[in-house]
Subunit: 197 residues, 2 copies
């Protein structure tokens, strides 16, 4: 997705060979027009998948997920990272290890909001080692629902999350695929670079 790649080049900050900071438009400050375009792009890519529900995880997944949900005409459910006082019974729960934060969170979704006949599109901001996406798939599978696809805003293609997910048979669409962040430079994977030209 050209608009997103350009935004990453212009406003992303490479902090190390592993870390791309996109706090300027996705993870802290949010550009709503870009989110709307991202929502439309997910809707285009998964238009034949008969999506009935979008599942994401707080907090940075919410903006792109809600914009996509608006396009699909479905609701979003966002997984919480820990239980709150008013949300403790009747939950699907999975454990997710965050390499960035070096901690394990329980993520949870109320059983009320995913059903067996749902075709779920999982949306998240980043895909690196795949832990969050695998946790979300686990929640959807606990409900007996179908994971119809995974939509990622930015995939760090040099980490193994993408291949783990694709090997499990699920369709993964990433709107920007980063081949490497070496030497402080963002390099996109080949077909994505071609798209920009």
């Amino acid at each position: 997705m050209k608009l997103l790649q350009e935004k990453i080049m212009r406003e992303g900050k490479v902090l190390s060979d592993d870390v791309l900071k996109v706090d300027a438009f996705l993870n802290h400050q949010i550009d709503p027009v870009l989110m709307q375009e991202i929502g439309k792009e997910f809707a285009k890519r998964f238009k034949d998948e008969k999506i009935t529900k979008i599942v994401t995880i707080e907090s940075s997944g919410i903006a792109p997920a809600v914009m996509a949900a608006l396009e699909f005409g479905v609701t979003v459910v966002f997984a919480r990272k820990r239980k709150s006082l008013t949300l403790q019974d009747n939950m699907y729960i999975a454990k997710v290890y965050s390499y960035t934060k070096q901690e394990t969170n329980e993520i949870s979704i109320s059983k009320q909001y995913i059903h067996e006949d749902d075709r779920v599109l999982i949306i998240d901001d980043f895909l690196a080692n795949g832990q969050a996406a695998l946790g979300l798939m686990n929640l959807v599978q606990q409900a007996g629902a179908t994971v119809a696809g995974i939509g990622i805003v930015i995939e760090k293609a040099f980490q193994d999350g993408g291949s783990k997910l694709r090997e499990s048979g699920v369709r993964v669409e990433s709107l920007a695929e980063i081949a490497s962040l070496n030497n402080g430079t963002v390099r996109f994977v080949e077909h994505a670079v071609a798209e920009v030209k």
Copy 2:
């Protein structure tokens, strides 16, 4: 806002005289069409305030804030509830006590994303005792920016947050104002009830 009141009557759950659960469309599952209408309503109410930035707090503030930002043509910044590894320097920080969760969180916003000349609209999902809104105002004021208004999706008008904020001189607009939750029934404040008829 009639659409929101109807949604609360239909899908909200009164858990006690103090607690209204709206996990069906705002705090866990999100109805994106309703969020879009909420964004439009905020844009209408604050249209003369020359808003340049929207500030909210993760997680449930993000959806209404992003939709409002789209209408205003500005960006959103969401305050984080604790520091992450890639976001620790150069932050405005305030303490917020949550009565619901019975814990104090540090909320923070990067100094990069609020400037002295910003006219900020603060948006949040709920207003009860006002702690979160006061914390967000504090962050905006630390930046030397102007709090041009506070937009709330659901105000529990029987708690004192609304009067605390209004007494401080800031304009507060709540799209649904709840007079009481006694006896398991949602009662809206007078002018809101009149609006429904």
